[in-house]
Amino acid sequence: MKRRKRNKILSTYILVGSVLVIISVFIGLFAPVLTQQSPTKMFPQNRLQPPSQEHLLGTDEFGRDVASRIFYGMRNSLQVSVLVVLITTVIGLLVGLIAGFYPKTDMVISRVLDAMMSFPEIIIAISLAALWGSGMVNIVLSMSFAYFSRMARVVRASTIAVKEVEFIDSGRAAGASDGYILFKYILPNILSPIIVQATMVFASAIIVEATLSFLGVGIKPPEPSLGGLLSDGRNFLPVAPWLVIAPGVAIVIVALGFNLQGDGLRDLLDPRLDE
């Protein structure tokens, strides 16, 4: 009874999450198609217009179309997050595999990872962004730096577990080199936790990017970003609440979507890992 109910809840998580994710990705991918309006062109005479037929979500203080700014903002956020996940996974994999496979290197690598993980990602990302400056490239780099230790930890733990299973020795006995074993034996068998971790990094990255942009150290204006929109809209809350509501809802959709999917995926895959 309990397991069936649990699976039902989990698949609802994943279902709802996936729907939200698909909506966000769709918007992000097809932003140029969905809106003819430019997200950056200013029309000062149209400033602070409420939602209308021409501007579905109104205009901001510079007369820019809010809807298209949201769509492009979503696109930018997703772009950043995808890059962060890719870089994090690649670096985390390399570091984790080496740490897990070569215990002598592990003594040093583990300490370093431990030290890095004692800081919350946001703090690291903010500090580095403040140091290196804002802009897409910089925040991708600073966020990747903040996240890779978590991925490396997961990879390392899985590597250590798989390393002890006998088929690894069977590969060695057949004459396989270390590299062959790492990439053809160990890697294919630790994909589950990596995928789960990647999903969680993605979900977290969305929010961190929004935070960075909100604080002004994220995506450089006039490029739109959801966090930036939220921050700018604050000043006009009494007059033009749609400037805050729209980006706020957008952030919730994206973040919630990836979080639900990640949680559901993690819980669904975990017992199978034990089996």
């Binding site: 299973v165 088929f167 590969g171 057949a174 294919p188 068998n189």
Partner: protein, 325 residues
């Protein structure tokens, strides 16, 4: 068994494997787990040398270190005349064609995501065979040798039973035409009604392909059925070595005696007075000076506590490490 002594294919001289034990905050080495502590033996070409012992005796470590899956600590391993114990991984690699190993749990010995044909052909590809039709032919030959069919080649390990999986493991081990195979408890994880199939298969292959085995097991009955000669290990050393009929008829070392008498016997008329050993199997970390068996031996004397007895010949290839003989 044979009047003329066959050539010695493998010789171990004072072979040791010690595992350092880390302790303290800076992980210093505070002691050693002496898993294999000075093993001397000679295996003749074509024979099945059985190694028997309980947990902690070092038999599995012995098997794995021979193949450099665990790095040996000291001592010599002479295989077909060449000293292979201290070779670097790169220099050892060519020997992997000739030295293979079969493990206890067949399922965890097979890469779960590889198809059977890839599993069997992989050693060939690693060692440079690239001709597809040659590989395919060899794989088919091997799968037939172990008693399975061609249609099994497209499947994955989890689709097979334990006995079939072990056959696949054997096929893979035979791919490179080895001369020597270490069999580490190859039937212990299999159902009782399947064990005899695999034992028969291994014996058949030994004759057909001119193989030599080091057969490691804790199951005395299995060892008796497959081995030509038997070595009993206790706490990292061999305490008795003899031809199989001789050792089972006439065990000399007190440990061997106790070991044999501990086995349940179905026929009540064959049951003898059981020798019950006191105490536990000791740990290979704190090995006392003198004979390793002193703590549990009924016949312990003073000199057993002073100096460890040597492994000496007691007549016709029967070696014992005990002051009683």
């Amino acid at each position: 068994m044979t009047e003329t002594k066959n050539e010695v294919i493998l010789e171990l001289k004072n072979f040791k494997k010690h595992f350092p034990i880390q302790g303290g905050i800076i992980s210093r080495t505070i002691g050693y787990l002496k898993a294999v502590d000075g093993v001397n033996l000679q295996v003749q070409k074509g024979e099945i040398f059985g190694i028997v012992g309980e947990s902690g005796c070092g038999k599995t470590t012995l098997g794995k270190s021979l193949l450099h899956l665990i790095k040996p600590t000291s001592g010599e391993v002479i295989f077909k005349g060449k000293n292979i114990s201290k070779l670097s991984p790169r220099n050892f690699r060519p020997f992997r064609r000739d030295l293979q190993i079969i493990f206890q749990d067949p399922f965890s010995s097979l890469h779960p995501r590889m198809r059977i044909d890839s599993l069997i052909s992989e050693p060939l590809k690693i060692h440079g065979m690239h001709n597809r039709s040659q590989i395919q032919e060899r794989v088919r030959e091997l799968i037939r040798l172990v008693g399975l069919d061609r249609y099994h080649l497209r499947k994955y390990p989890h689709e097979f039973s334990g006995g079939q999986q072990q056959r696949i493991v054997i096929a893979r081990a035979l791919a490179l035409n080895p001369g020597f195979i270490v069999c580490d408890e190859p039937v212990s994880a299999l159902d009782v009604s399947i064990q005899s199939q695999i034992i028969n298969l291994l014996k058949e292959l030994r004759t057909k392909l001119n193989l030599t085995y080091m057969f490691i097991s804790h199951n005395l009955a299995v060892i008796r059925h497959i081995s030509d000669r038997v070595g009993v290990m206790y706490l990292g050393k061999l305490v008795e070595v003899a031809e199989v009929d001789e050792i089972y008829k006439n065990p000399l070392h007190p440990y061997t005696e106790a070991l044999f008498s501990a086995i349940p016997v179905t026929d009540p008329s064959q049951r003898k007075e059981r020798i019950i050993l006191q105490g536990n199997v000791p740990s290979p970390v704190d090995i006392p000076p003198g004979c390793r068996f002193q703590g549990r031996c009924k016949h312990v004397m003073d000199k057993c506590r002073d100096r460890e007895p040597d492994l000496i010949e007691c007549g016709d290839g029967h070696l014992v490490r005990c002051y009683l003989h």
